[in-house]
């Protein structure tokens, strides 16, 4: 159970950091924060890459992970890009 406890510790502490870091967000930033944090959740791409890149593996693993790479890439690329576009609009006027 050693690795589980370590992983779970990381999880719980990260949740607390999340709450602390973004407790006061001005409403202007609600949408960019959502699209930006959504891009972060595309981190699943790491898992997708590991499995899609496994040599000597059943075809099904490659297919599932390959589609996961597509999904996660859309999530990451689309999320950061659209956030950048929105933030550009907020900044232009200052």
């Amino acid at each position: 159970m050693g690795t589980f406890v370590a992983a779970f510790t990381v999880f719980v502490l990260a949740v607390f950091i999340g709450f602390e870091v973004i407790s006061k967000v001005p409403s202007t930033l609600h949408t960019p924060l959502m699209s930006g944090s959504n891009a972060i959740s595309g981190i699943t791409i790491v898992g997708a890459l590991i499995l899609a890149g496994q040599p000597d593996t059943p075809r099904i693993v490659h297919l599932l992970a390959g589609v996961a790479v597509v999904f996660a890439t859309i999530n990451v690329v689309g999320g950061y890009l659209v956030t950048h576009r929105m933030l550009g609009m907020f900044r232009r006027k200052r």
Binding site: F11, G18, G36, N38, V70
Partner: protein, 526 residues
């Protein structure tokens, strides 16, 4: 140091950058830097994953190219008015990826299990959790997208592109289920004993999802009971998968039942509750990523996923508070008129309709003007016209500000994005509480396409369905101009006595047309 240690250090660096991303994203001045921190964090995590191990590249490269093209096209083409749909659908991709990664990891683990490597309890539970949360997020996000783009659960006729997505996606879902069942039954080594009901049950669930997506209304009898059944079935199947991880058919049945749950949970949610839904799905997409992190024992997934999960929950709470409703009430309840709701004809006896010229007279010499935008501004795409009116009034010596209700529109911060697109300065966007404190000094409040968020019964009538909901109390301003297409009620379905108040004038028109006419009248009057 071993390669894996170096890789883990790179992941740690990525996790730290994600924390800075969120921290900087919560302040207007540092937000751009925050987004870049996230980009670098992601790049570091990806490079660290790809370097130092023998890899099969064709699936990675194909997937990355397709995903990048789709992502770039979506992000550069989307209009600012369609941002709720965009955020809605992006949430879903993360969830979908989690289900697929957990499914692929399960196949690997089953192989290892057959070769004698044990399959740990943590990975088993996390695989089940990834399937449930990921599938709920994927289909819930699709439904949110479809409701925001107004092609799911609506009675009216659809445009061709709406029909194409609606019927195409429903068909792909149902046929995908069928293809899986056929391949599992007749392809390769055939089905293991006892798996047939699981495989065909999976098909039935995906067919049911397809059917639900064709509904032309948001609710049907027995829906709430069905939600509970689907939720209980997901948990039961999840527990079974933990006990028998070697049974791959169980995993896909679990994902299928959770898909039904995801559709049911979101399809009944009304438009004005969408900000809560989008924030909640945002949180789920993070939690799905964290669950997948437990599956493959990867800290950067766990950290990044739980950060997003936490931020989504915070936004969900802010949105629920702004509507004075509990999360359970949003997910399972309905909002609507009660038997105590006064009759609309009675309330609206003294409504005064007005003209652009009269409005120009009211605005003439006004020192303080506030504009309260609502979803109607987004629908009419009136944000540029509104900015033009504000600039014109400022030329005439008025101080013009915008009062933004936290749940105005269809996602958190929706109005802010639109006004930013129209070049309204950040400093002019005021939050509800600040404006309410100064409302007596406001000469003219212009309400554009908003209704429930300015309805004074939230304060005056404790029996009203919206009692206690914080509102922008424009009824205390000297003059109120309501721009609205008709006297039809807002989302809550109750009349708004403000429309008939002595200080209120109603201008019945489309938002953009109305503003342009007012601009014209103000120019002519001066």
């Amino acid at each position: 140091m071993h390669t894996q240690d170096l890789r883990d250090l790179a992941y740690l660096l990525a996790a730290v950058l994600f924390i800075f991303d969120l921290k900087w994203m919560s302040h207007p001045r540092t937000a751009v830097r925050g987004n870049w921190a996230g980009v670098f964090g992601m790049a570091i995590a990806i490079v660290a994953t790809l370097v130092g191990e023998p890899m099969t590249w064709q699936y990675i490269l194909t997937g990355a190219v397709i995903g990048t093209v789709i992502g770039v096209v979506m992000a550069t083409r989307v209009k600012m008015t369609a941002m709720p749909e965009m955020v809605g659908i992006l949430n879903g991709f993360g969830g979908g990826a989690s289900v697929l990664v957990a499914g692929a990891a399960l196949v690997m683990a089953q192989r290892a299990l057959a070769a004698g490597t044990p399959f740990g309890m943590q990975e088993r539970v996390a695989t089940a959790a990834s399937a449930i949360i990921g599938a709920v997020t994927f289909f819930g996000s699709y439904v949110a997208f479809g409701k925001l783009a107004e092609f799911l659960a609506v009675k009216w006729d659809l445009k061709p592109w709406q029909s194409a997505i609606k019927y195409g996606f429903a068909a792909v879902t149902a046929l995908g289920g069928l293809a899986y069942a056929l391949v599992a039954t007749f392809g390769g080594g055939g089905l293991p004993e006892g798996a047939a009901p699981l495989v065909w049950g999976t098909f039935l669930c995906f067919a049911a999802v397809g059917g639900l997506l064709l509904l032309r209304r948001s609710r049907f009898p027995g829906m709430d009971a069905l939600k509970w059944v689907a939720a209980a079935a997901s948990l039961a199947l999840g527990a079974m998968l933990v006990v028998q991880p070697e049974n791959g058919a169980l995993f896909w049945l679990l994902a299928a039942v959770s898909s039904v749950l995801g559709v049911l949970l979101t399809i009944s949610i009304g438009g004005a509750d969408m900000p809560v839904t989008i924030a909640l799905l945002n949180s789920y997409s993070g939690l799905a990523g964290a669950a997948t992190g437990f599956v493959i024992n990867n800290n950067v997934l766990i950290v990044a996923g739980s950060l997003v999960g936490a931020s989504g929950i915070i936004l969900t709470r802010i949105m629920c508070k702004a509507m004075n409703r509990s999360l359970t009430n949003v997910l399972f309840g309905t909002l609507g008129p009660t038997s105590d709701t006064p009759d609309a004809d009675e309330v609206y006896r003294t409504v005064k309709a007005t003209s652009p010229e009269e409005i120009a007279m009211t605005l003439d010499g006004a020192q303080r003007v506030i504009i309260v935008p609502g979803y109607g501004m987004a629908v009419a795409q009136a944000q540029h016209a509104v900015q033009a009116l504000a600039a014109l009034l400022e030329q005439h010596g008025s101080q013009v500000e915008f009062a933004i209700h936290p749940v105005a529109g269809r996602m958190p911060g929706h109005m802010n994005v639109l006004l930013a697109e129209a070049n309204v300065a950040y400093e002019k966007l005021r939050e509800m509480d600040d404006v309410n404190a100064e409302m007596e000094q406001v000469d003219v409040a212009i309400v554009l396409g908003a209704n429930d968020v300015v309805n004074p019964v939230a304060i005056t009538d404790p029996k009203s369905p919206i009692a206690g909901m914080p509102i922008i109390d424009v009824s205390r301003a000297r003059n109120v101009i309501m721009i609205k297409r008709s006297l039809s009620p807002g989302f809550a379905g109750i009349p708004n006595p403000l429309f008939a108040a002595a200080n209120c004038q109603m201008f019945f028109s489309d938002g953009k047309k109305a503003i342009n006419e007012i601009i014209q009248a103000v120019k002519e009057a001066s």
